[in-house]
Symmetry: C2
Subunit: 431 residues, 2 copies
C-alpha cells in the first residue's frame, strides 16, 4: 500500500454516522509499520480491492472498514512463535475499527465471516490477532429479537426472586436410562434445585431417548413442585442437527421440559436465532467449542464477543466457564462475560449469566461475591449429584449455604446445625 492507500483506511469518529458502523476492538502483533498493518486489516475485512483495473473509482468511503484509534508499542518478538512471518520490527497493537455493517446486514453468519474471517486472521504481517470486543449500534440490534424471557421472565416462571437460580447437572451424565436418571432429578428438585438439567453431552441417545426422559422429568418437576410448593423446571438438551431443533423442542416441551439447552457453537448461532422465533420456553446456552478459540490472550476471539452474540441470538441464560482454577479462565474475563449478559443493550433483554465449573455449596459464597449481585445462575454437577448424601442432600446443601449468605452468617458456621451443608463442605471444600 502507498501512504495514500493507508490514509484511505483511517477516519475520525466524528466524521462517520455511528448508526452505519459496528465498532470492533482488536489486539494484534505485527511485523513492520503498525499503521500499514491496521490499514491492511481494514482492507482485508471489507473492500480488499477498492477499484476496478483502469477505472477511476474508490469504494472505500462507503464500504471500507476504517481505523478509529490505534495504539502501538514495540516488542522484541511475537509472544507465540508462528509460521510464515519474520519477527522483524514487531509491535503489539490495539485498534478500534468502524466496520460498515451494510456490507453484509444483520445476519450472524455474514457478521462472523466479516469480523472473524479471512480478513482478520490472514492479514499480511499480522500472525497474531484477537477480536477483543464488538459494539452494535441500535440500527443493527433492532433486527434481532434477543431473549424472549430474560432474567425477569425466568424468575417469574420459577417464583425465584432476590437470590441466584439453582441449576444442577444430573450425573452420571452419560449412561443412565431415563427412569433412574429422572429419579435423580426428582430427588434434587425435592432438595431445592430450581432447574435440573441434562449434561451438554447428553442429547437424544437411543439408550436414553429425549422424549422418554422429558416425560419422566416433566412429571418429576410437577410432582416436586406440588410437594414443595415451588416451581421446578426440567432443562432438556435438544442439541442436535439443525433441522431437528424445532421438532425436538416441540417434543421435549410437549412431554414436560420447561426450558431447552442448546450447545451454541456446535449447532451454530444462526440456528439458535431460528429456534428463538419458534420456541415457547426459555433457551439456555452451553459453551462447547468456544474455548478452542477464546482461551489465549494473544490469539482468537474473546469469549465476551460470543456472549454478546448468544444474547443477541436469543438465549435467556448463558452457561459459561466460571471462576476457579478448574475453568482456566481469568477472573476478569468471567466478569467481562457476565457484564455482556447484563449491561444495557437497547431493547434486547438481559440474559442470565451462569458461570460454571466444579461448583458446590463450598464455592457459592465466593461466586456470589465475585458476581456482585444475585442475578446469576449456579450450576453444580457433582456438587449436587455427587454429594455423599445423594442429590436431595446435595441440593439442600446449596440452599442452606445461600440462606447463610443471605442472613450474613458464615457458611461454615451455619454448617454446624446442617449436616447436608457440613457434608458438602467436607466433600467439596478446600482440604
Amino acid at each position: 500500500m502507498t501512504p495514500d492507500d493507508v490514509a484511505g483506511f483511517f477516519a475520525r469518529r466524528q466524521d462517520l454516522d455511528p448508526e452505519l458502523y459496528l465498532e470492533l476492538d482488536f489486539t494484534f502483533e505485527c511485523a513492520g509499520d503498525p499503521r500499514e498493518a491496521a490499514a491492511h486489516l481494514c482492507s482485508e475485512q471489507s473492500t480488499a480491492q477498492w477499484r476496478r483495473v483502469g477505472i477511476d473509482e474508490d469504494f472505500r468511503p462507503r464500504f471500507a472498514a476504517k481505523v478509529l484509534d490505534i495504539d502501538a508499542a514495540p516488542r522484541r518478538e511475537f509472544s507465540i512463535p508462528v509460521a510464515g512471518v519474520a519477527a522483524v520490527n514487531v509491535h503489539a497493537v490495539r485498534v478500534t475499527l468502524a466496520h460498515p455493517h451494510g456490507n453484509f446486514g444483520p445476519r450472524i453468519p455474514n457478521l462472523l465471516s466479516a469480523v472473524c474471517g479471512e480478513g482478520v486472521f490472514f492479514v499480511p504481517k499480522i500472525p497474531l490477532i484477537r477480536l477483543d470486543d464488538i459494539r452494535f449500534p441500535a440500527s443493527y440490534r433492532a433486527a434481532f429479537d434477543g431473549p424472549r424471557f430474560g432474567i425477569a421472565g425466568l424468575r417469574e416462571k420459577l417464583g425465584a426472586h432476590g437470590r441466584p437460580i439453582f441449576f444442577g447437572v444430573i450425573k452420571p451424565n452419560i449412561g443412565l436410562p431415563p427412569e433412574p436418571f429422572a429419579a435423580l432429578g426428582y430427588q434434587a428438585f425435592l432438595g431445592g434445585l430450581d432447574i435440573a438439567k441434562d449434561d451438554e453431552m447428553l442429547a437424544d441417545a437411543p439408550w436414553c431417548p429425549l422424549a422418554a426422559r422429558a416425560a419422566l422429568l416433566g412429571e418429576a418437576a410437577r410432582r416436586a413442585a406440588a410437594e414443595t410448593g415451588a416451581a421446578k423446571i426440567y432443562l432438556a438438551n435438544i442439541t442436535d442437527e439443525v433441522d431437528r431443533l424445532i421438532p425436538l423442542h416441540d417434543e421435549a416441551v410437549a412431554q414436560g421440559a420447561g426450558a431447552v439447552l442448546v450447545n451454541a457453537m456446535p449447532v451454530g448461532l444462526s440456528a439458535v436465532r431460528m429456534l428463538r422465533r419458534h420456541a415457547r420456553v426459555p433457551l439456555i446456552a452451553h459453551f462447547p467449542f468456544i474455548a478452542s478459540f477464546a482461551r489465549l490472550p494473544a490469539y482468537g476471539v474473546h469469549s465476551r464477543v460470543l456472549t454478546r452474540l448468544q444474547r443477541l441470538a436469543g438465549f435467556d441464560a448463558v452457561i459459561m466457564p466460571g471462576f476457579g482454577p478448574r475453568m482456566m479462565t481469568p477472573e476478569a474475563e468471567v466478569l467481562d462475560c457476565i457484564r455482556a449478559c447484563l449491561e444495557p443493550m437497547g431493547s434486547i433483554l438481559p440474559s442470565l449469566p451462569v458461570p460454571g465449573g466444579s461448583d458446590s455449596a463450598a464455592t457459592l459464597e465466593s461466586v456470589f461475591r465475585k458476581v456482585g449481585s444475585v442475578d446469576f445462575g449456579f450450576v453444580p454437577g457433582r456438587g449436587v449429584f455427587g454429594h455423599p448424601g445423594g442429590p436431595a442432600a446435595g441440593a439442600r446443601s446449596l440452599r442452606q449455604a445461600w440462606d447463610a449468605i443471605a442472613a450474613g452468617v458464615p457458611v461454615s458456621e451455619r454448617a454446624a446445625a446442617h449436616p447436608d451443608l457440613a457434608a458438602a463442605l467436607k466433600a467439596f471444600g478446600p482440604h
Copy 2:
C-alpha cells in the same frame, strides 16, 4: 482419581470393537502425571461420573472414552503461558483415544460437543491441547451423505479433465452493483476461467442482491460457454441465516448459479448437511473462522479435522488456506488438508481441495508441484481480476501458465510469446 480409576480409562485396541469407536489423536501439555491427565481427558469427554452415589455400577466399559496409545516427554514449561495451572512437572503428550460414538450418534453438533467441548478444553491440569485428527469407522460414516458430485462430478459438469479447475474470485469483492460485477465475471469466463465466484464476504446485500447477480452471471456463463465452447459455472455465495439457505439456493440456481458457496463454520456444518440433502448443484466450502482455532500448533483443533467434517457434511469442494507465506499455514498442514479431501473414505466421495491465497499465473506451477496431482482447484482473486490487462487477460494468463506446465515448458519461457502471461509474472511474480 485412584490408580484403579485411571486404569478404567485405558484399553487395548484388540479388546474393542473398532466399529463402535471414533479414534481421536490429541497432543497436549499437562502438569503432573500424564497417564492421570489422559484418564481425566477420557472421563471429562464421556462419562465424567461413572456411578451413582451408593450404587455399585460402572458405566465405563460401554460409555467411557479410552486411552489406546500414550507417549509423554517432559518439558521445562508450558509452550504458551496460561492462567490457572501451575507449570509443575510439565509433559508434552500424544494420545490416541477410542471414543464410543454411541454416546451421541452420527450428529455433527453432538460430535463437536464431545470432541471439541468442555471435556477436551477444561480437563484438570491440561491447559494446552489440540485435537490433531479424527478417524470414523464405516458404521459412523454410513450415516453421512458426503459430496453429491465430488471431483468427478465437478469435472463432468465442466468438461474439465486432466488439469486443475480454475476458479476466480470476482474483485472488487465488495461495492460493485450486479451489472459491472457480472461484466467482470463474463470477461474472466471468456479468458478461460471455469468458475467465477463471489467473495466469501459478498452475500445477499441490498446494493448487490443475489437474485440479480445470479441472473446476470448465469447469463454471462451461458454466453461465455456458447462463445468458447467450454462449460462455465457461476458460484453464488448463499451464506446467510440457516433458514434462508434453502430459499437462497433455490433462487440462485433458478436464476443461473451452477454451484453455491457456503462459509462452513459461520453457518454451521449441521446446516450444510441439511442443505446437502436439498441441493441440486455442487456445494463449495469457504474457511472463515477456522483459523481462529486452527493456527497454533499447541492449542485448538487441527484444520484437517474440519476438512474431514466438511467432506462428511457434503461439500464437493473445500476452499482452504493454501501455500505461501500470506496464508501463514505450514506446508505440511496444507498437504494434510488436501489428503483429507482425497484419501479413501469408504463410500464418501472425495472433495476437490482448493488451496487458496494470493495466487496467480506466477504461483500455479509451485502449487501444482506441491499438491502433486491435477486434482485441485486454483482460486486467484487479484491474480485474475487485478491483472493489468483486465480479467480476460488474467484468466488467459492462468491457462497459458497451465499449458506450459502441461507441456513441460518453463512458465517464464512460455511468457515470451504470451503477453498476458508475461504481464501476470511481472505484476504478481517475485520481484
